[in-house]
Symmetry: C2
Subunit: 218 residues, 2 copies
DNA sequence: CTGAATCCGACACGATACTG
DNA sequence: CAGTATCGTGTCGGATTCAG
């Protein structure tokens, strides 16, 4: 791999980029940070990658000790997961998310795939880096997308975290669809104000108001 | 720019990579983080880049609002410096340095250019992230490379920082050359022990011992 | 259906030389 | 000093095909 990715520098940043600077590599890591995934899961999340390049990148990452391939006998799928070196890349992905939120986000374009997991991952980073206002007290928000997909966002008083599935003790339940939520989150603040179409809030009135103050305020 | 760097994801990390994911971009930012540089400075630091691609990347970064080009009338040189968005990339570069130090460093290869500034930048990151032992008290180390190049590394009790030039109040003066220092820092710990050839320590005996404990211990 | 491999074309990039 | 110009190679996208 990486015949052209050769910087000839004695520099840790250059070395890192030689290893994970190819196209798609860091986005594969981003998806595997949520947990082990199958080849076809990655194919779906990465959206516009071709199977050929997903295969190539996974081989590279495996060789670099970042990804572990788990192909068990008598099972159709192959699972991929991060090694410790792979999990150590989380700060890199997170710093890219922080910069992207501040300097490069825009509403989703027509052909752009919007995954709810990715939105929630960005939300957690934005909240923990205090790029959005914080509620005063611990709170649990459940996001429902259609009938079969739900995520829980929880603030324990110190940090925010996201969890797959709907938590029972939700203070507020938000129902929407990923595209709509993406558009709301990237709307310029002067276009905000009040409850947008395609998003409904249920639950404790005061907690719902608090949610609105964080996300829907002008 | 970036016709092929198009991920079609609604994702902040993917957006960031669309902007600064091309080859060389982040290394140009790395060098500009030290301060404004001329075209030829960058050409020298980036070592194996060609003028054509340095021009292309600088134009891209300028268009992306990361770099500002400063060409004044009646002056031969053109200076490049980071905008605020560019300086906001420091955490990205730093996270790459941290990962690289832990997972990808090795002694410099034959054709590899070793810049003292880059070594010192890596040292500051490694010390501040506590990847190396810390002295108990504030200390100032001056590194001399040959007769005309010197850097000061200072610990104020809280954080480490690097400064160009030799500080007067040095507790310890280290004399070496960049290649030698690079080899020492990347040597496996079982090959360390005592003072290596090609490196001399001067100054307060106890402070020199302390330096040795951080860098030269087995 | 999953996890690939193959062929082809576009363009990103490297190497070298040259210019204002 | 700060770039252009030219030419060759490598990386990647797109489509199709293939084995378990």
């Amino acid at each position: 791999m990486a015949k052209t990715k050769d910087y000839k520098h004695f520099c840790a940043a250059a070395r890192s980029l030689e290893v994970i600077g190819e196209k798609w590599s860091l986005l594969i890591v981003r998806d595997l940070l949520r947990g082990p995934q199958r080849f076809s899961d990655l194919l779906r999340y990465l959206n516009s990658i071709t199977p050929k390049w997903l295969t190539a990148r996974l081989r590279d990452l495996e060789e670099a000790g970042i990804v572990k391939r788990d192909a068990q006998e008598g099972r159709r799928e192959v699972w991929y997961e991060l090694t410790e070196a792979g999990r150590d890349l989380e700060p890199v992905v997170e710093s890219l998310v922080v910069w992207g939120i501040k300097h490069a986000m825009r509403p989703p374009l027509p052909g752009e795939r919007v995954h709810s997991d990715i939105i929630l991952q960005g939300l957690v980073v934005a909240l923990n880096r205090r790029l959005l206002a914080w509620p005063d007290n611990p709170v649990t928000w459940v996001f429902r997308f259609g009938s079969d997909e739900a995520h829980t966002l929880r603030f324990d008083g110190q940090l925010w975290s996201a969890h797959p599935g709907a938590d029972d003790g939700a203070d507020v339940v938000i129902e929407s669809d990923p595209e709509r939520l993406a558009n709301i989150l990237t709307a310029p603040s002067d276009e905000r104000g009040g409850l947008p179409e395609g998003l409904t809030l249920k639950g404790d009135t005061q907690k719902a108001t608090e949610f609105g103050a964080v996300f829907l305020a002008g």
